[in-house]
């Protein structure tokens, strides 16, 4: 039997403190998310044709995509870390970031669909950007299915990390490169107004930038709680 290079370290460390946000970060997350939800509906927004009040979706839709991409990036980094360190903890973190990122992805998809209904007139249009978003969610669902089909945790960690890295790189190509090559209805593509042109309003900026930070920190906070819960469960069964 070939030498199992990682078996010594895999179950050694189950450190609860591996993902621990300082209290002021949680406070910041709380304040920014609350301010996003309140101010997002209250502040004056520029009156634009067709968009009208739907421009407020910027605070919710765009920010949840930012949070999703950020969490998937963390998951990608932890998958690389797992391949180099062999620690089971890194793999678990990668899994948790993927799961939380998918929640934000679904939130972004739903808010986007509602917005599309009132501006484009349909919940779904055949658009490269929309299809890219849906397919990348499918790829991450496949990651979850792949994880569940293993019983041996060492193989599970290694194989799913490999898939995660592969999927993330191709997702980047799909979401960021391909839509720029074809025309798209989506704001920011093909001459449609992006948020650089209608976001010039300074009050909107004041809400939008903290909102990005807020949703990202909220995602990290959820991941932390999930991680600690799973770590406690594992320690209990030991």
């Amino acid at each position: 039997m070939p030498f199992q290079w990682s078996c010594f370290r895999t179950f050694g460390a189950n450190n609860l403190e591996a993902l621990r946000l300082p209290i002021w970060v949680k406070f910041l997350a709380f304040v920014t998310v609350i301010s996003c939800v309140f101010l997002g509906f209250i502040v004056d927004v520029p009156r634009l044709d067709i968009l009208n009040e739907t421009i407020r979706n910027l605070f919710f839709h765009v920010t949840s995509w930012f949070a999703m991409v950020f969490l998937f990036l963390l998951s990608f980094i932890y998958s690389i870390k797992h391949l180099s360190s062999g620690l089971e903890m890194d793999d678990r973190l990668a899994k948790i970031f993927t799961e939380v990122g998918m929640v934000f992805g679904i939130a972004g998809l739903v808010t986007g669909m509602l917005w599309a209904k009132y501006t484009w007139g349909a919940y779904w249009v055949p658009d490269p950007k929309l299809n890219g978003a849906a397919i990348s969610l499918l790829a991450y669902l496949a990651y979850v299915v792949l994880r569940n089909s293993f019983s041996d945790p060492i193989t599970k960690g290694r194989v799913s990390s490999v898939y995660n890295i592969f999927a993330f790189v191709l997702m980047l190509i799909f979401i960021f490169i391909l839509p720029r090559m074809t025309s798209s209805l989506h704001p920011g593509n093909g001459g449609n107004p992006a948020f650089s042109s209608y976001d010039l309003d300074n009050t909107m900026r004041l809400v939008f930038y903290p909102a990005i930070i807020g949703w990202i920190l909220l995602g990290l906070w959820i991941s932390e709680i999930k991680f600690r819960m799973e770590a406690l469960q594992i320690n209990k069964t030991k």
């Binding site: 290079w5 391949l83 499918l138 990390s161 592969f166 790189v169 191709l170």
Partner: protein, 217 residues
């Protein structure tokens, strides 16, 4: 280099010693082409013509490459482990699967354009698109087949894993081949050609980097 060639020839030999599987996938391809012909008869629009072709090719290639790693038993893998580095092994596998799929898709386009008549604007461009597309499908499926074989691989898992990942490639290849059938000029096609070649390079490089982690057990 010697080891890479050895992998290709070993696969070739084992496929011709037991030609059931390779002719099986070829037969799958031809019969699905024929099923499409019987149920659709003729296709008027170019986008549909191209899309149907790629759908047939993709599912046939899943069928053809799925067995690529399942047939490698544990003992065989350990023996190969002592002979060469993982990079050489995966490069050999990718080249073999890529060539196999290129051959299959060339057969497919021959039969397909015979069954469904279509005036093709730029034949060399279409062939280049098919060549690059199926080579990249072969590379992606080689890595995925080794992932699926770790998870007591079946075809369903491979399709779930593979289809979302292959979509950027499928989209670009479809657009490229559609423009080729339309007979558009090269100047419009360059950006798609660059993306296709880039995808080939990215998938190949990722497989070479990642395969050593799958291989070790």
């Amino acid at each position: 280099m010697k080891q890479v060639l050895a992998v290709i020839f070993r696969n070739l030999k084992s496929d011709f010693r037991d030609p059931n599987s390779i002719f099986g996938s070829l037969l799958f391809l031809i019969s699905s082409l024929f099923v499409c012909y019987i149920s659709i008869n003729r296709i008027a629009s170019i986008p549909t013509w191209v899309a149907l072709f790629w759908i047939i090719v993709i599912f046939a290639s899943f069928n053809a490459v799925a067995k690529s790693f399942v047939q490698e038993t544990r003992d065989k893998m350990i023996y190969i482990y002592s002979l060469m580095s993982p990079a050489q092994f995966i490069i050999g596998k990718m080249l073999y699967n890529g060539l196999l799929l290129i051959l299959m898709s060339l057969i497919a386009i021959l039969i397909y354009s015979g069954l469904f008549e279509m005036a093709i604007g730029n034949l060399p461009m279409l062939l280049i698109g098919i060549l690059l597309g199926s080579a990249c499908i072969g590379m992606i499926l080689s890595l995925l087949s080794s992932i699926a074989s770790k998870a007591s691989g079946n075809l369903t898992l491979m399709a779930i894993l593979g289809l979302p990942i292959m979509l950027p490639l499928i989209l670009t290849a479809t657009k490229f081949t559609k423009n080729a059938v339309d007979g558009l000029d090269w100047s419009i096609q360059y950006k798609y050609l660059i993306v296709l070649i880039g995808l080939n390079i990215v998938c190949g490089a990722l497989s070479v980097v990642l395969f050593p982690y799958l291989w070790r057990e």
